[in-house]
């Protein structure tokens, strides 16, 4: 088996993807009161009762991190996010935020960015396995 070599992270490409939605995403991230009331609307959280399944946690620790670093993330960080946004979320769009924050769109953008850098949620994730 040959070892897989990854191409380096294309920071410019990430930044290009971040810019058009910057206003919306920054507003959504900054108004999140971190109240944790979205937790029970996620059926995966109800099943696992693990804070890593709270919708806000997934959005803040994926897209929030990328915005905080202005797109300058490395592969390890994207790999860490992979579990949160591909395995811990199925993008069913059922998350309820009392403030009206659009959480699925944030996770969706984080997924798009990860995918553009070759970080995918592959089979065992899609079946809910670690």
């Amino acid at each position: 088996m040959t070892e897989t070599t990854f191409r380096p992270i294309d920071v410019k490409k990430i930044q290009k993807m971040l810019t058009p939605k910057k206003g919306k995403m920054k507003a959504l991230l900054s108004f999140c009161a971190h109240c944790g009331l979205c937790a029970e609307s996620c059926f995966l959280y109800r099943n696992h009762l693990d804070p890593k399944y709270v919708p806000a946690y997934k959005a803040i620790n994926s897209l929030g991190k990328i915005y905080k670093k202005k797109g300058r993330v490395d592969r390890n960080q994207l790999e860490e996010m992979k579990e949160l946004i591909f395995k811990n979320c199925v993008l069913c769009g059922r998350c309820y935020c009392p403030l009206g924050i659009d959480i699925p769109s944030m996770i969706s953008l984080a997924r798009t960015i990860c995918r553009s850098q070759g970080v995918y949620g592959v089979f065992p994730y899609s079946a809910g396995e670690p």
């Binding site: 507003a27 108004f31 999140c32 971190h34 109240c35 804070p51 890593k52 946690y57 009392p98 009206g100």
Partner: protein, 228 residues
């Protein structure tokens, strides 16, 4: 003398600055919101309308059941204590400062008009209730795992900004410690809170109404005519 000068500065010019920043923040957030959103495209297929045309209006029993299900899945159905406490907390944070007797007396002294106000004992009781609720939220942030995982230092800082005006006001009313210092702290912290609404996540005061009433979604409270 210095303290008196400070007192007149913070209840004069600084108060106006705080009010202007507060009002400017509300206007800025509103304009920003409408710039970031657009009118929703007209709905071509409406599942609910289609269902109604085919099967007629749902019966009273059906509607009762639908209401019961949505209530069970709401925050009120899931966390009764949090829902009630957070509603009370947010109502009090609005009405307490506006209808407090002492504030209205100051208003009367300055401009010769005053609003309806609580009696002194009611204001005092409500402040104690507010502080209790704030304590509950602090406890929740520290003790509940899902909230603790989300909490950052900034959350505690914002909590402090919100609670300090009420705590110092409570101390002022009881005249504990040095009254003059407590009063200055009270005014300063109140102004800080007004300014913070523009710059911190306390901006959800504006965002809540805009997002929940204008953005169309399953949970929108208004007509939901706009989209991101």
């Amino acid at each position: 003398m210095g303290e008196t000068h400070l007192y007149y500065f913070i209840r004069g010019p600084l108060l106006w600055i705080a009010f202007f920043v507060f009002a400017g923040g509300i206007v800025f957030r509103t304009v920003q919101f409408f710039k970031l959103t657009r009118k929703k495209d007209p709905l071509i297929y409406s599942p609910t309308k289609n269902h109604k045309e085919r099967y007629g209006k749902s019966s009273v029993q059906e509607r009762k059941m639908q209401f019961a299900i949505s209530l069970k899945n709401s925050i009120l159905g899931q966390h009764q204590a949090v829902a009630i406490f957070t509603s009370l907390f947010h109502i009090l944070i609005f009405i307490l400062p506006i209808f407090l007797l002492a504030h209205n007396l100051l208003l009367y002294e300055s401009w010769n008009f005053s609003l309806w106000s609580f009696s002194e004992s009611t204001g005092d009781t409500l402040t104690i209730l507010f502080l209790f609720l704030a304590g509950f939220f602090f406890f929740r942030r520290v003790a509940v795992a899902k909230v603790r995982a989300l909490s950052r230092a900034s959350d505690f800082f914002v909590w402090l900004i919100t609670v300090t005006p009420f705590l110092t006001g409570f101390i002022c009313y009881r005249q504990w410690f040095d009254y003059h210092t407590a009063l200055i702290m009270h005014i300063l912290s109140g102004e800080l809170m007004l300014i913070a609404i523009t710059f911190t996540k306390l901006g959800h005061m504006v965002f809540f109404f805009l997002a929940r009433f204008f953005i169309g979604s399953e949970f929108s409270l208004g007509r939901g005519t706009r989209t991101w």
